[in-house]
Symmetry: C2
């Protein structure tokens, strides 16, 4: 692993546990076993590192959550697979995200204190919602949804359910509660399908 | 308003926006227009204030979210009323909670850094979930739910939906998206009722 990658890797953990504001460049340098010179060689500032870290977090998110969805043909089944992946592959990843979901942590922390930085996370939320919406609309187009299903409503519910499941799982660490939440969201998808 | 109440009131706002760890006693003293003496007259420590603030936040939560539920007889309709209140009376309260839902903010911030303090928030989450579960079980007992409805699953979904709706609303400030989420949760409740 290069020094640059090591810095990003450690920042992912530190931001996830301590948050962005309270993690100092010194914390990061120590965790990555490098120097100020080593740091500023790769990043102009902590903000610069923030964007690099988010970008890596997004890649990890996709790897884990979209895994196995390409082989699935039916859009609604793709969403169910993402829900399963989120439960089994993503929230369970204590190595990369020891403090829970980094996107939620950063969004909650930064919305008031650093809106521009928070915006970058929120754009990711929007993209994910759009993906769900597109999949539901495709399913509707091919006649797979029951009469009168509002895809936007379903999208908002699935998305809020995922965010909330993560907040709750980080709080109570109960795999059982998480199983129930995901099962309930999956049930809802089964209820609206034709 | 007494000095003690003023301190709690300002802490509610500061913890909600800046978080607990980064809010100093000095920040609180300044916001409340008092002195160190004035502060320590009422609170042994910042931790002591933390519990008093949470207790006040909980009272506010109940006042807003449970408002009008007592007059409703049917348990399932009580839950729908709470969902509406959450949307219209709670999340909209920019005065007391300028930084979004203080419980979620504190839970996300403190879970790794101060588990004992986070636990106090998480206990509140459990209590709220138990309330939903009890209402759903009562509804089931009186025969108001469709065959085979698992009340625990529904509880977890409603609860995660509420948490997620708050995270998302704090991020995008979109009343429209919030309306869709709450409508979708309410729809789900209507689907399972007999």
């Amino acid at each position: 692993m290069s020094i640059k990658e090591k810095i990003i890797d450690e920042s992912l953990k530190l931001f996830s546990v301590k948050g962005f504001m309270t993690t100092s460049v010194t914390d990061i340098i120590q965790a990555a076993g490098t120097s100020k010179g080593g740091f500023y060689n790769h990043f102009k500032s902590k903000e610069d590192l923030y964007f690099a870290t988010l970008s890596r977090a997004r890649k990890l998110w996709q790897e884990k959550n979209l895994s196995g969805t390409e082989e699935i043909e039916r859009p609604l089944e793709k969403i169910k697979k993402i829900l399963e992946n989120y439960r089994d592959k993503y929230l369970a990843d204590q190595h990369n995200f020891p403090g829970g979901c980094i996107f939620i942590n950063l969004s909650v922390e930064l919305n008031d204190q650093a809106p521009k930085l928070a915006q970058e996370v929120n754009k990711g939320f929007e993209r994910l919602k759009n993906m769900f919406r597109t999949l539901l609309d495709e399913e509707k187009k091919r006649g797979g949804l029951a009469e009168g299903v509002n895809t936007r409503k379903v999208t908002e519910m699935i998305f809020s359910g995922l965010l909330g499941a993560c907040v709750m799982y980080t709080a109570d660490k109960s795999k059982e509660n998480l199983d129930y939440t995901i099962a309930s969201l999956t049930d809802h998808l089964s209820q609206i399908q034709k």
